[in-house]
Symmetry: C2
Subunit: 261 residues, 2 copies
Amino acid sequence: MATGRTHRPATRSRGIPEATVARLPLYLRALTALSERSVPTVSSEELAAAAGVNSAKLRKDFSYLGSYGTRGVGYDVEYLVYQISRELGLTQDWPVVIVGIGNLGAALANYGGFASRGFRVAALIDADPAMAGKPVAGIPVQHTDELEAIIRDNGVSIGVIATPAGAAQQVCDRLVAAGVTSILNFAPTVLTVPDGVDVRKVDLSIELQILAFHEQRKAGEEAAADVTQAAGTTNSAVAAKREDSATDQGPDGDVPAVMPA
Amino acid sequence: MATGRTHRPATRSRGIPEATVARLPLYLRALTALSERSVPTVSSEELAAAAGVNSAKLRKDFSYLGSYGTRGVGYDVEYLVYQISRELGLTQDWPVVIVGIGNLGAALANYGGFASRGFRVAALIDADPAMAGKPVAGIPVQHTDELEAIIRDNGVSIGVIATPAGAAQQVCDRLVAAGVTSILNFAPTVLTVPDGVDVRKVDLSIELQILAFHEQRKAGEEAAADVTQAAGTTNSAVAAKREDSATDQGPDGDVPAVMPA
DNA sequence: TTTTGTGAATGGCTTCACAGCG
DNA sequence: CGCTGTGAAGCCATTCACAAAA
């Protein structure tokens, strides 16, 4: 952490913790669902349950945004939706390009949640000339040659990389050179970017490996623990309760660690 | 965190920090690349650079696994690959089912990294009867009715949910009831699971929203900061260097927070 | 001399518990 | 009285800096 935070006095204290930022989308989703059911207010307890966090954490998170609740009552759903949307920058709309229209890229292009809150797929880009012009999710694929022009013409600042690992760094460099400052990387590679560019990565095999680690641990403890288990099926039916790790219920979200490298 | 950690004295100290576990796959990938280039040893500095973390963190991480390095020299690549693989449980192979073979499910089925290290797609499952029998990535799709039988017959303990949000909880319940104890969730829903079941989620729109937050902040600071910027293009070409947030280079990975809910 | 392994210091996030407000 | 907002405490992770080993 360097200096920063000198400019813009802002509405309130600047510097929302990263962990909090990572949970805001979760709250927003839960609130949107409540809003659609026309629920007018919600308590920290209820909303926390819907978002899968505990209520103290939620209240602390909201306290960074300001005092938007009413004691003895709870939070106004509509108002909170607006405040969080604004905080996340979703009141404006962000043109996004997806580079690499293979299976995954196509899936992303078709993903509904993309178009919904504040994001708009400005272009699909692929290196395969045979793909050029072919529509995916109603949008014609353009060739990589056009990349720089597309970025500039559309004022794109967020790019999604869904290319094979080998092409990712090169695509990343071109995106950044053309003016992209936020990248969501689905390729299994560590991207190197200049200062001021944010990269987030989504990596299937890493997630699976983390699950495998815990799965293995369960198997080990199960074996060492109760010998109650009859010789039954070969299948590891871990039905027995376990008093291991975290108590917390619901997904805790990620502590993100965005790195303006 | 409850009691736990009574059974199995294990090779060394148990209890590897979650943050460390989340980085092991990253190290493993970097090491595998070195291994393929027949590099015999690597220093913490070099490996850290390849994995995108700093070297002190890497050394501390490895210290939880044991003392696998040689002072003055570094780490033996092959040996480390083996140790980390073993720690992550990748020396055995994990049958995995993917439920929901839409765009995303198909992309996952085709994803190479899946089959590589320790994971095997045991079955593809979809609720659409029209899909049944259709091969995706060389594997015939089976109907949801078969779910329980598939899990049991293949001893599956890891399930991937790629269904629409509305179906996710129901699918999750059936997976868990059939014996699955680890779930990777791509649906934008908070899953409720019994104790002892791990859930990890991958959520595109959350990642984008986090990027939007930082993107918005850049725009704000840019405006307030230098007025140097000529009236030029409408495009927000944030070329200027910034002295904001983290110093660290390379992707920091996620601090995962697996929640045995 | 080089580079690991690790106590100690630091910083951030979560949880607790309760004061304060409606 | 109910529920929010928040200081204080505790926990976990990162970073520092150096002693110890090869």
